[in-house]
């Protein structure tokens, strides 16, 4: 696992519209403190942030989309510990590592401001790989206001990136979700995604009014996507929230009529690539899809889509922590169903049943997310399922969907 995680991360990044998070990155490979201050300016006093957050909804950017203001409110009094979750475990996502590698001071600004605003004494940046840790440590060493900041490398794995698993690993336990669904805020630990802190740093500088001059009324500002699959320009992309899918696909050099897109990564869903689908939580929810942590993958029709789904279903089964019976046995059964469908066998009923039976029956959301991914894929590919039953689609599986160390 370590060997895979230590592979260099492709931090190619571009923007649709004005860059905010990615400001300065067209000119600089990495913003050191001097470059950061010249691009973004000095950080205003942190005490303004809580009021700004009440006026400006920022949904958590780790996938669940929990509003940052609500997370702050759910703390019992002061926070003890602020944790920047940089353990980006979704194989198709690179946005958090791109921020930490190329503009680490923006993330530290947000984290230090939130720690100050909530009264937290401890601030930890948790990551999975050494290169990212080195970038953050170098940034911490440049600043006068980051002396107490800890940078910790904790073990990898898909479910190890879940907030409660991260907290458990930081406390010396296994990097696994615990059996009780108590949120870390209940004990004074505020865990949030890397991009969420960077967004908070932008809000503190811009104020609510300017922050909301892009994006939608309910979801102001920008967001990061990681765009991959069959596109000419894969990379991390900053877009105004609510940007139509067609604009991002065109800018990424996707084929004019992709076969399918995957939104939200491997806990997300397959969707028909409708050009006017709005890339926001609301816009994706309106078509029954998930925004997740902002992954957009494109299948162009050259690769066998059902075979791609079967590969990822197998990977999701392998990523089960094997703590919880329904996930440990159910996800391999579900993956076998999809592989059988790809081989032309009639297993659609079994797949639907296995997806239903794992949902809601685990310590974390891995079985639910995996079931949603497979169910939405089988629904979108129902004609493909028929084609495979009638002899196959005669397309090779090109591995357009990245899994494992394919970063």
């Amino acid at each position: 696992m370590t060997a895979l995680l230590d592979r260099p991360v492709d931090t190619t990044a571009w923007t649709v519209g004005e860059p905010r998070l990615l400001a300065g990155l067209a000119q600089h490979a990495r913003l050191d403190l001097a470059a950061h201050l010249s691009v973004h300016g000095a950080l205003p006093p942190a005490e303004r942030l809580v009021g700004y957050l009440e006026a400006t909804p920022i949904a958590g950017r780790g996938g669940a989309g929990f509003p940052l203001a609500a997370k702050l409110r759910s703390l019992p009094g002061r926070a003890k510990h602020v944790v920047v979750n940089g353990t980006e475990s979704e194989p198709a996502s690179r946005k958090d590592r791109t921020l930490l590698l190329r503009t680490p001071h923006l993330v530290l600004d947000g984290a230090i401001a939130i720690a100050a605003a909530t009264g937290a004494r401890d601030l930890t940046v948790a990551v999975h790989d050494a290169a990212v840790a080195a970038s953050v440590r170098a940034a911490v060493a440049e600043r006068g206001d980051a002396r107490g900041v800890q940078v910790r490398v904790i073990p990898g794995g898909f479910v190890a990136g879940e907030a409660r698993a991260v907290v458990r690993a930081l406390q010396g336990g296994p990097a696994l979700p615990p059996g009780r669904r108590t949120p870390p805020t209940a004990t004074g630990t505020l865990v949030s995604n890397v991009e969420t802190f960077a967004q908070a740093a932008l809000l503190l500088r811009y104020g609510p009014h300017r922050f909301a001059d892009t994006g939608t009324r309910t979801e102001p500002g920008t967001t990061l996507l990681t765009v991959g699959g069959a596109v000419a320009r894969p990379g991390v992309v900053e877009i105004p929230l609510g940007t139509p899918l067609g604009i991002v696909l065109a800018a990424a050099g996707a084929p004019a009529l992709p076969e399918a897109v995957i939104l939200g990564g491997y806990h997300g869903s397959w969707a028909v690539p409708m050009p006017d689908l709005r890339l926001s939580r609301e816009g994706t929810a309106a078509v029954g899809a998930a925004f997740g942590a902002g992954v957009l993958l494109v299948l162009d029709g050259a690769s066998c889509a059902l075979g791609e789904l079967a590969r990822v279903a197998g990977w999701l089964a392998d990523e089960s922590a094997r703590q919880c019976g329904p996930c440990r046995f159910g996800l391999p059964a579900l993956a076998a169903d999809v592989a059988a469908l790809a081989a032309g066998l009639p297993r659609a009923g079994a797949a639907a049943q296995h997806a239903r039976v794992v949902t809601g029956r685990g310590a974390c959301a891995h079985p639910d997310g995996a079931a949603r991914f497979v169910t939405s894929g089988l629904h979108l590919l129902r004609d493909e399922v028929d084609r495979h039953a009638a002899g196959g689609c005669r397309r090779p599986v090109l591995a357009q969907l990245p899994i494992g160390g394919a970063r």
Binding site: G179, C324, G325, P326, C327, F329, R361, A363
Partner: protein, 68 residues
């Protein structure tokens, strides 16, 4: 909100005692892990269900009180 049956899935080993004791409340999936049909626990049924919770050999069952 009433009390609710909850399974700690990291502890459950699929012994199936819950389903043997209260087949009206617990089914089993094809691997022997419990399926809780309706998690709501009525005050009248709570003592009997707490006895099932105590009987679980893996200490994986609990009755959660709503807390706020």
């Amino acid at each position: 909100m009433s009390a609710r049956l909850a399974v700690d899935w990291t502890r459950c080993d699929g012994h199936g005692l819950c389903a043997a004791l209260r087949p009206d409340r617990f089914g089993l999936d094809e691997w022997g892990f419990p399926i809780v049909g309706d998690p709501d626990v009525s005050p009248a049924d709570e003592p009997a269900l707490r006895a099932v919770v105590s009987a679980c050999p893996a200490l994986a069952l609990r009755v959660d009180r709503p807390h706020r």
